[in-house]
Subunit: 501 residues, 2 copies
C-alpha cells in the first residue's frame, strides 16, 4: 500500500512540475517577454499543458486510486493521505470525463474567440463576436453534459471553480444579498457623493509601488517567497509555496488602483504562501475554491485594507510618502474617498457595495443563456436593461457593457463569476470567526499589527490548501453553513458610519 501511495505521489509530483513550469511561462509572458517571443511561447505552454493532462488522465492513476481507496477509508478523513486520495479522485474523475478531442477543439475555439474579442471590444462591435459566443455557449452546454445527473445545467461548470455549490444554493444566497443590497445602494446614492478628489492628483509610479510593496510586507506577504511586478491586469500566480508572485498596475492620476490591487493580490498570495509545505506537489497545494480564494483577497483588500482601523495606521505613512498631495487632506476625507459608493459601469472599478450587483447579474445571465431562456443575440439588450434596473445606470455602448469582461470570451459561459460574490460573503464570515477567537484584532490593526489575524487564517484556512471544500471549511471555522448574514452586517455597520442609512 505504501508503495502504491508512493507511486501515486511520484506521478502527481511530475504532473505538478509540468503545471508549475507552465505557470512560469505564463508569468513571464505577462511580465517580461519581448513581443517576438509570443508565438513560440504559446506552443511551449500548450505542450506542457497537454503533457500534464495526458499524464493525469493515465488509467494507471485511476487504478492506483481504486487500489488505495480501502486504505483511504481506513484513515481519518482529514489525514494527509486520505485527503490526497479523495481530492485526487475528484479531480481525476472530472478530468477523465471530458474527451481530449473536445478539450483540443475548445482551446482552439477559445483562443480564436479571445483574439476576436480583443478587436471587437475597442471597436464596440458585439456582432463580430456574436457567432463565436454562440459557439462558446454550445461548448459550455456540451461540457456540462459530460457530467450528467445535474440539477441545473450550470452546476457542473460551477463545480470546476466552486466545488459543491449549485445553482440552487447560490441563487438562494444571491437573492437574499440582492434584497439587502438594492435598498442599501438606493439610500446611499441618494446622499451627496463622497469627495474623492484627493485620490485624483499626480502620484508618481515609483512612489506608489514603493509604498504598496511596504504595505504588502507589513500585512504579511513574504517577499522572500514572492515578488511584485507590473502587468496590464493584476494577478497572483504561484510556482511553489516558496515562490508566490503578485502583479499590479499603476495609474499615476489615481491613487488606490495600485495600492488596493496590491493588497488584493497579496491576500490571494498569503493564502498560497500559507499552505502547509507538506502538501506541495499534490493537487491539495493551493486554495480550495474560487470563492474561498477571493474571500482572502477581499478580506485583506476591503475588510482590512479599507477599514477605519487600517486607515488610522496607514494614512499618516501615506501622507509622509505624498506630502504635497495629501498633506492637507484629513484622514476622514481620505477614508470616505476610498469607500466612495457610486453607480458605475465597470465591475472591476466598482466599490464594495455595488460590486456584487455587477457579479450577480452576470451569474443570472449565465444561467439564462445555458437554460436557453436568453439568446446570445439578445444578450446586449438584456445587459443594458439589467444595468438600468440593478445598477441604475444605462451603459452607453457594448464596449463598457456586455463586452467589458474577458471571461466569456476566453473561457466558457458558466462558473466564472459566482466566486467573486461568494468571496465577499465568505470574507465577512471568516473575519467574524477570527474576531470571535481574537476580539482584539481590530485594535491590533490600528497599531499596524496583523499577525494575530494572519496566523488565525493560516491555522484555520491557508495551511489546509484544498484538503477541505469551501463548505467543510465554513463548517470547521464557523460551525454552520455559508450564509449572507455576516457580510450584510459588515456592510451595514461600516456604511452606517459613513452614510445615514
Amino acid at each position: 500500500m505504501e508503495k502504491k501511495l508512493q507511486e501515486l505521489k511520484t506521478r502527481l509530483l511530475e504532473i505538478d512540475d509540468l503545471n508549475k513550469a507552465n505557470a512560469m511561462l505564463i508569468w513571464d509572458q505577462s511580465t517580461y517577454m519581448p513581443e517576438g517571443g509570443a508565438q513560440a511561447r504559446g506552443r511551449h505552454s500548450a505542450t506542457l499543458a497537454r503533457l500534464a493532462q495526458e499524464k493525469f488522465v493515465d488509467p494507471a492513476i485511476g487504478r492506483l486510486l481504486d487500489e488505495l481507496q480501502p486504505y483511504a477509508e481506513s484513515l481519518p478523513y482529514d489525514s494527509d493521505d486520505a485527503s490526497l486520495i479523495r481530492v485526487t479522485r475528484r479531480e481525476y474523475e472530472r478530468a477523465t470525463r471530458i474527451p481530449p478531442k473536445f478539450i483540443g477543439e475548445l482551446y482552439e475555439h477559445q483562443a480564436k474567440a479571445y483574439q476576436v474579442w480583443t478587436e471587437a471590444r475597442p471597436a464596440n462591435d458585439f456582432s463580430r463576436i456574436q457567432p463565436l459566443l454562440e459557439k462558446t455557449l454550445d461548448y459550455s452546454r456540451q461540457m456540462a453534459d459530460y457530467f450528467p445527473g445535474y440539477d441545473h445545467i450550470i452546476d457542473p461548470l460551477i463545480d470546476f471553480a466552486d466545488y459543491g455549490m449549485k445553482a440552487s444554493s447560490i441563487s438562494a444566497l444571491f437573492a437574499e444579498l440582492r434584497r439587502e443590497l438594492m435598498p442599501l445602494v438606493q439610500v446611499i446614492t441618494s446622499q451627496p457623493p463622497a469627495d474623492d478628489s484627493c485620490l485624483r492628483k499626480h502620484y508618481p509610479e515609483a512612489e506608489q509601488m514603493a509604498i504598496s510593496k511596504k504595505i504588502a510586507a507589513i500585512l504579511g506577504y513574504d517577499f522572500k517567497r514572492g515578488r511584485l511586478d507590473l502587468t496590464h491586469h493584476p494577478f497572483e500566480i504561484n510556482f511553489s509555496v516558496g515562490d508566490v508572485r503578485i502583479t499590479t498596475r499603476v495609474k499615476e492620476n489615481l491613487l488606490g488602483e495600485c495600492l488596493y490591487s496590491v493588497i488584493h493580490e497579496a491576500g490571494h498570495a498569503m493564502y498560497e504562501q500559507g499552505v502547509d509545505p507538506k502538501l506541495e506537489g499534490t493537487p491539495m497545494c493551493g486554495g480550495t475554491s474560487a470563492g474561498v480564494h477571493e474571500s482572502q483577497s477581499r478580506l485583506w483588500e476591503n475588510i482590512v485594507g479599507r477599514s477605519l482601523e487600517f486607515t488610522e495606521f496607514f494614512y499618516p505613512r501615506l501622507q509622509k510618502a505624498f506630502p504635497s498631495q495629501l498633506g492637507d487632506t484629513p484622514l476622514e476625507t481620505f477614508y470616505r474617498a476610498i469607500n466612495k459608493v457610486e453607480r458605475s459601469l465597470i465591475r472591476t472599478d466598482a466599490d464594495e457595495v455595488t460590486y456584487n450587483l455587477h457579479v450577480m447579474l452576470r451569474f443570472e445571465f449565465e444561467m439564462a443563456l445555458l437554460e436557453g431562456q436568453l439568446s446570445v443575440r439578445d444578450l446586449p439588450e438584456a445587459w443594458r436593461e439589467r444595468y438600468r434596473q440593478d445598477i441604475g445606470i444605462l451603459p452607453p455602448d457594448d464596449k463598457d457593457g456586455v463586452l467589458q469582461d474577458v471571461h466569456w470570451y476566453a473561457g466558457v459561459i458558466g462558473g466564472s463569476f459566482q466566486g467573486y460574490t461568494l468571496g465577499n460573503i465568505l470574507s465577512a464570515l471568516f473575519y467574524q470567526a477570527a474576531l470571535r477567537a481574537h476580539p482584539e484584532i481590530p485594535s491590533e490593526i490600528r497599531r499596524g499589527k496583523f499577525d494575530k489575524l494572519h496566523n488565525w487564517l493560516i491555522e484555520n484556512i491557508y495551511r489546509h490548501g484544498s484538503k477541505f471544500t469551501a463548505d467543510e471549511l465554513v463548517q470547521r471555522v464557523d460551525g454552520g453553513k455559508i450564509r449572507v448574514g455576516p457580510y450584510i452586517q459588515y456592510l451595514k455597520t461600516k456604511y452606517g458610519q459613513l452614510y445615514t442609512l
Copy 2:
C-alpha cells in the same frame, strides 16, 4: 516517407518545447526568482530535463532515423531535411550511448560538487573539494569511455562542445598560437602599461545600462526579440528565434565591465536571432559549436567593439553620457585603456592578448588529468607553476588560482575550455572572410553602420544554425581549414599600432 519525416519533426518539436520551457526556468532563476523559489525550481527543471531526455532516446526516434536514412541520402547534403536527419542522428547516437543511470548519478554528483565549490572557493580551501574533483575525473573518464575508439580520451568530451575537433588538431593550433603569443606578451608587458584610470571612476549603474542597451541595439541586437537584465554572471539564453535574451553585470567603479559584456552577449544573441526560423523546433536551431558561438561574441566584443574604428564612432557618444568622467579624456587614452595588456590572475578579466594563455593551460591540464599524467592532488601546485611560466605571475592562493572557474566543479573535466580560444581564432578568420567580401566594413563601422557585417554573418553563419559543423562553415566561407594565421595577424596589426613590437 513524408509521414515519417513529419513524425520525427513532431517528436523533436515536443522535445524542444520541453527544453525551451526549461531554459525559461533557468533564466528566471538567474534574474527574478525570489530565494524561496530555489528548491522547487530545481525539481521543476530536473523533471523537464528528464522528460526531454526520455523522449529523445526513445527507440522510436532511432527507427525513424534509420527509415529516413535513404531519403536523406537522396537529398543534397545542405538541404533542410537531409541536415535535420544528419544532425539529429549525431545527437541521438551521442545521447543513447550514455546510460540514464550514469547521467542521474553524474548530475547528483555535480550538484554536490558545485555546492561544495561555492564554499571552498571563498574559504580558499582546495582540500575540501579535492575528493569530489577526483570523483569528477573518474566520471569524466567513464563518460569518454562510452565512446570507444577515440585517439585521445578527451576527444569524446570535446565532441560535445566542438564536434569534430580533437586533442591532436586543437593541440596543433594551440601550440602555434602559444609560440606567437608568448613573445608578443613579453614585448608588450616590457613597455609602460596603458593608463586606464579613466575607466576607474564612478559610473552610475543606470547610465551604464542605458548606453550599453543603446549600443547593443545599434550593433544589430533586436530588442523586440530579446531583452537585457542584470545577473551575477553575464549570459545569453534563448527560448526561440523570437526570444533571445542577454544579461550583464555592472561595476560602478569600472566602466567597460558592463558595456563589453553586453556587446559580448549581444554577439552570442545575434547569432541565435539570425538562425533561419524554418529550423525552429529542431536540433539545428542554435549555434553549431562552442567555438563558433564564442567567435561571434568575441568578434563583436573585441574585433568590432574594441577596435579603433568603433571607438571613433562610439567614444563621443560615451563622453556625452559621462561628461564629468570622460570629458577631458582624449579618445587615444580611452582606446589604449580598453585595450590594456597586462599579466593577470583571472581568466575572465584578462585582456585579448593574454586571455588565450589562460585558456590553453586549462586545456592542457584537462588532457593531463584525463591521461593520468597529473593527479588532482598535484593540480593546485601545477596551476601555480604554470601561471608563473606562461602568464608570468604567481597566484597568491587557490581561490584566484585553481578554484577560479566553475567549469570543472559543476561539469566534467574535458571539453569545456578549448571553445574560448577556438572562438578567438575563428573570430578573426570569419572577420577576414567578411572583409574579403566587403572591404568597406571598417569604414562603415567608423560611421556607426553595422548592417553589412551583420548581414554577411547572417548569410554565411547565423542562418545555418547547426546545419554545418565548425569545419564545414570554415570550409564554406574561407575555402580552407581552421588556422591560427588570421588571428595572429589581427593581434599583431592591432597591438603593433598600440605598442612597439
